[in-house]
């Protein structure tokens, strides 16, 4: 794991963070639930909490889908290439490339080449919003690339070690990450195979 230069984090008095979606992006509850699951994965291993609010302007974290030049000096490049970016704390800007083919649910193995799993990218970008940089550990969420038609949403030990170095652990112990109701993770499939689920 790595951190941004200077190791910026959300200050101690801001541990209960709010997030909102750009009003110009009308999103279904199903899509909003994807982000809620992504936030919950980080909340499970930190003292941070995340709650959705309506007011985009006053939210700590502001999420928007934008295409091309969207005013932050980091224009998106159309289909594939750069998928999203998020800024270090306490900026809270979380931008996704509106030209991508974001997939909310289903078996990605049968998807077209350009399909990108929304939750996978959301979990990665939230890591940036909280202060993590990129990691060379390929299994980690914070590895910079993701193959299309791939789902990777489970925090790896590297991710957890990194975020807990910044914020400490969850005071209630590391909670189980939320499971997706659509596509089982590798871990979930393993558990199911072993009868542990």
């Amino acid at each position: 794991y790595s951190f941004f230069p200077g190791r910026p984090i959300w200050p101690a008095h801001r541990r209960d963070l709010t997030y909102a979606f750009a009003p110009e992006n009308p999103l279904s509850n199903e899509v909003k639930a994807v982000f809620a699951r992504a936030f919950a994965r980080w909340a499970a291993v930190t003292p941070l909490t995340f709650s959705a609010v309506e007011s985009f302007r006053s939210a700590d974290i502001r999420i928007g889908f934008y295409a091309g030049d969207h005013g932050d000096g980091e224009p998106f490049d159309g289909v594939l290439g750069t998928l999203a970016h998020a800024f270090s704390p306490p900026s809270g800007h979380f931008h996704l490339d509106g030209d991508e083919s974001w997939v909310v649910s289903g078996d990605l193995r049968s998807a077209p080449l350009a399909a990108i799993d929304l939750e996978s990218v959301a979990v990665h970008e939230i890591g940036h919003l909280l202060g993590l940089g990129h990691s060379s550990v390929e299994e980690s969420i914070m590895f910079p690339t993701i193959t299309s038609r791939t789902r990777k949403v489970d925090l790896a030990a590297d991710d957890i070690n990194g975020i807990q170095e910044l914020y400490g652990g969850n005071p209630n112990g590391n909670l189980s990450p939320p499971s997706s109701s659509t596509t089982p993770s590798v871990q979930e499939r393993e558990m199911s195979r072993n009868g542990a689920a």
């Binding site: 790595s2 290439g81 083919s101 390929e138 193959t147």
Partner: protein
């Protein structure tokens, strides 16, 4: 474009290409070569923190590009040859996060910590 389910994605997206596909043609380029498209690769490596900014990148496979490729390969757990081999080009073409891997010359990815999780070994000069 948000698709609630995989089955709702139009099949024509199978033919989608991205700008980084152009890097395929760079396979086999070696130091000293001048090849149309290397300047675009330098722009890519600059964007993600591997090459300092320049007003105009050339199409020459120069030592700066070779060094940047070695750093990139180290960060992505590839053989640090400084050459444009298949694995490196495949990695470069993958979709990725827009945040640079190296910011302000500091990184803790592989290239920044050769001996484990210690402070990055960077030399700094105060002005």
């Amino acid at each position: 474009h948000i698709f609630p389910n995989v089955s709702s994605i139009p099949s024509w997206l199978n033919k989608t290409t991205c700008a980084w596909d152009q890097f395929k043609k760079l396979k086999g380029c070696r130091p000293g070569d001048r090849f149309n498209g290397l300047s675009n690769l330098k722009t890519y490596l600059n964007r993600f923190g591997y090459i300092p900014s320049s007003p105009n990148f050339t199409d020459l496979f120069d030592p700066l590009l070779q060094s940047a490729l070695k750093t990139y390969q180290t960060n992505f757990n590839l053989n640090a040859t400084g050459l444009l081999d298949d694995q490196t080009l495949a990695q470069i073409q993958l979709p990725r996060c827009g945040i640079p891997d190296i910011i302000n010359n500091s990184t803790s990815m592989n290239s920044g910590q050769p001996t484990g999780r210690q402070s990055p070994h960077f030399h700094s000069v105060s002005h």
